[in-house]
């Protein structure tokens, strides 16, 4: 925060504002997921986005911090099947996680493959980098606002906003998340 590195009005920025800033080359870095390159193109003024100028790198390690620099934070798709679902539903899940289907999905930009061999369908260099980064990770953490129950995940988001707005200290933010978690467990 002290670096004043964020764009003007970032506290009120929508995802569209952010994608526009990136797509038009007005921002140097963005903490975002694998869907971002497509959104940058769509939101750029000339409709072409950044092209080769877009790259990916893992979040920099903090000296003395916990975990390995290669650990991944992210998400993607999860599938939930109802208890009364017909057996075809399971067959379908098997199909969409097959190597051929994963390659096909990667080719049309639907997802970053999670099955070994699926990366053959990727052509976008930044997505290949993302896929390799995720594949090399020894630990994978789902986004906290999705991983935790809604009552806690939403507190994570609000606490992070408080941190960036400078209205709460890291200790207060951590405390708020802890409190919400304890209340949820009760």
């Amino acid at each position: 925060m002290a670096l004043d590195a964020f764009q003007s009005g970032f506290l009120g920025a929508t995802w569209g504002d952010e994608a526009t800033a990136m797509g038009n080359g007005n921002a140097a870095m963005d903490l975002m997921g694998q869907w971002a390159p497509g959104a940058f193109v769509e939101n750029s003024a000339d409709g072409t986005g950044l092209g080769d100028a877009l790259g990916w790198f893992p979040f920099p390690a903090i000296e003395g911090g916990a975990g390995a620099p290669t650990d991944a934070l992210g998400g993607g798709n999860g599938y939930v099947i109802g208890i009364n679902a017909p057996p075809e539903a399971v067959d379908f899940l098997k199909y969409i996680s097959s190597v051929e289907s994963q390659i096909a999905q990667a080719e049309i930009g639907m997802s970053v493959p999670v099955v070994i061999g699926g990366e053959a369908g990727l052509t976008d260099p930044s997505l290949i980098a993302v896929q390799q980064g995720a594949a090399a990770a020894e630990y994978f953490q789902l986004y906290y606002d999705q991983y935790l129950p809604p009552a806690v995940g939403s507190v994570v988001n609000d606490a992070v906003q408080g941190l960036f707005a400078g209205t709460s200290t890291p200790e207060q933010a951590a405390q708020a998340i802890d409190d919400a978690y304890v209340a949820e467990l009760e």
């Binding site: 009005g9 506290l11 009120g12 209205t167």
Partner: protein
């Protein structure tokens, strides 16, 4: 001359064995009221009772509510700083509406209701924002208030002034409530303008003419004649404005989600955040009940205070 069919019908109705006209009348009234009553009960009364019930539980919205916590939810509401902030923000919006928005509407009504050339045109223009849906209004103004001068209209104009920095309308906690108020005013002043114009039209011209002949100045005419005669309209307009402000949700949620960092949080966004974003429906229900009580208290007190049995007759 032949007897009219109508009188034959009446005779038929009064035949013994049939239902008396009076009972039949009541039956007709009942039948006509029934659909409205069913809708009222199913979509209004029953959900409110359900909310009251759930407000005593710690309930996430799935399965039956089993974790009875008595008044814990209410205790939490009354001690939560963010809820206090939401109440204060609500009061600020109500205050600004009453002190700025309504006088502004009245002033415009005095202008376009009377002698301004082309007033039909202005009336249409002023009323137009009220016709827009709140979602369209919110999306439009979010774009107008974009901090980037190359994208937001307000900042594009503002930064034409040499040395002026873009104003972070919706991103600066100290400004965001004013920005919301600007949009609320833009959206709703036309409605109050219409109320006032209707009220002004009800004031007989002769009274004003008599006052002018008696030598009343323009301010005297306004404060001694027009304002008192408009008082029932003003009471109606204040009533609707306060309730509308207290319950405003869509515009604020769509533009800021109550943020940044709760700077534009009001009771309704607070309720939505806890009830539906955090899936704490028991707590959300309790917030809704508190909101209902505050609005109800205001309604009852206001109507009592002004003994306005015909509070909508000013329309």
């Amino acid at each position: 001359m032949r007897a009219t069919p109508v009188s034959q019908d009446t005779a038929a109705l009064e035949e013994p064995g049939g239902v008396s006209p009076r009972t039949q009348n009541k039956l007709v009234i009942f039948l006509f009221l029934l659909p409205a009553f069913i809708l009222f009960f199913v979509f209004l009364a029953y959900p409110i009772l359900q909310s009251v019930y759930y407000s005593f539980f710690d309930w996430a919205g799935f399965g039956p509510a089993e974790d009875f916590v008595a008044l814990d939810n209410f205790r939490r509401i009354l001690t939560d700083e963010i809820f206090h902030k939401a109440i204060i923000n609500g009061i600020i919006i109500v205050g600004m509406s009453l002190l700025i928005q309504l006088p502004f509407s009245l002033a415009l009504a005095m202008m376009v209701g009377r002698d301004l050339p082309g007033r039909a045109f202005f009336r249409t223009i002023f009323f137009m924002p009220y016709v827009f849906s709140e979602v369209i209004t919110a999306i439009m103004w979010s774009s107008i208030m974009n901090p980037d001068p190359s994208r937001g209209f307000l900042n594009a104009v503002w930064t034409l002034i040499p040395g002026a920095e873009p104003i972070l309308w919706l991103a600066e906690p100290g400004i965001v409530l004013t920005s919301i108020f600007i949009v609320l005013t833009w959206k709703f002043f036309g409605f109050h303008l219409l109320l006032y114009m209707a009220g002004l039209q009800n004031i007989p011209r002769e009274i004003e003419e008599a006052a002018i002949i008696d030598g009343a100045s323009r301010p005297q005419l306004f404060f001694r004649i027009i304002l008192p005669l408009l008082s029932s309209t003003i009471r109606t307009s204040v009533y609707l404005s306060v309730l509308g402000s207290l319950q405003q949700f869509a515009l604020i949620w769509l533009m800021t989600k109550g943020g940044p960092v709760n700077a534009s949080e009001v009771m309704s966004t607070y309720m939505y955040r806890y009830g539906f974003v955090r899936f704490d429906l028991g707590y959300g229900s309790a917030v809704a009940i508190v909101m209902l009580l505050i609005s109800l208290l205001f309604s009852v007190l206001y109507l009592r205070l002004f003994r306005q049995r015909d509070y909508l007759s000013g329309l």
